[in-house]
């Protein structure tokens, strides 16, 4: 599945279902279970129907009638004009990050008492 058709085309997946939703919603909208099932059924059906390696099929679902999310936001354009574009991604650190401090505590306790057998790390 993909919400970034150009990237998937460049990488070259054997079969791909393109869902034209904003990033962070590759498999549907939050708490819309019926539509999530419909999206997944449509995507999985492509396993049975596609015959050409590399084919990308657009799924027939729309995020919203309002498509402003596709346009670079006015504030980003203003940034570019003022020459003050900022890198808005989170700073890259090499310590594990968690959704909550409780998760951090649990993971650290698990590591202290035998490790995490379902965490797979590569050396170096």
């Amino acid at each position: 599945m993909t919400s970034a058709e150009s990237i998937t085309r460049s990488v070259g997946a054997p079969r791909a279902a393109f869902l034209d939703f904003p990033l962070g919603h590759t498999a549907g909208k939050a708490n819309e279970r019926d539509e999530q099932r419909a999206i997944l059924t449509a995507a999985l059906n492509l396993f049975a129907t596609l015959e050409t390696p590399g084919e990308i099929v657009r799924l027939p679902f729309e995020w919203s009638e309002d498509e402003t999310w596709k346009v670079v936001s006015a504030s980003e354009e203003a940034e570019e004009e003022s020459g003050e574009t900022k890198d808005d991604r989170t700073e890259r650190r090499d310590a594990p990050q968690y959704q909550s401090s409780a998760d951090r505590t649990r993971a650290e306790e698990a590591l202290a008492s035998g490790g995490c057998p379902t965490c797979v790390f590569f050396d170096g």
Binding site: M1, I7, R33, T90
Partner: protein
């Protein structure tokens, strides 16, 4: 209702963004030629499916992800409740994924489809990692082959990849 605007070209958008920031151009993976192909050998309703997601999913007790080319992965029991799926990632808006992890790691609806007979079931394990790994070499040489080995030994028929 059909979309009026074309799909967002994220390659071009990233190129423009890097250019504006004064960074060297980002080099996307570009594989030339037809991708590998495995034919379906049975109907979808008889297929066991594995889920692999790159949205930064982990479960309580597992180690989270770090934000500097983390190419590790987590084994997630396919019967894990949505309330026990956690998300951490440096490069996308996680608000909806944290409200409903199914938007990036659709275990819930996939279990529904298994119950309804659309698929035969899920593999016992699903797999998660955090995308935004800038070293494509690490993905190609280490992460991808390790995940491929896992799903082969899990004896699933299909693998559904859900990137973010």
């Amino acid at each position: 209702m059909t979309s009026q605007l074309p799909a967002v070209d994220y390659i071009q958008r990233t190129r423009d963004q890097y250019d504006a920031l004064g960074y060297a151009p980002y080099r996307w993976v570009e594989n030339i030629g037809a991708p590998p192909w495995a034919a379906m050998t049975k109907p979808l309703s008889e297929c066991r499916v594995a889920l692999i997601g790159s949205g930064g999913i982990y479960t309580p007790g597992q180690v989270g992800y770090h934000f500097k080319d983390d190419d590790s992965f987590r084994v997630i029991d396919s019967q894990t409740k949505e309330a026990d799926l956690r998300i951490v990632h440096f490069a996308y808006d996680m608000a909806d994924a944290r409200r409903d992890p199914n938007v990036v790691f659709p275990l819930g609806p996939l279990r529904d489809l298994a119950e309804r007979g659309v698929i035969c079931g899920l593999g016992s394990n699903s797999y998660a990692f955090m995308g935004g790994i800038y070293s494509s070499r690490r993905v190609k040489d280490r992460l991808a082959p390790a995940l491929a080995d896992r799903v082969v030994s899990d004896e699933v028929d299909l693998v559904l990849l859900v990137p973010v």
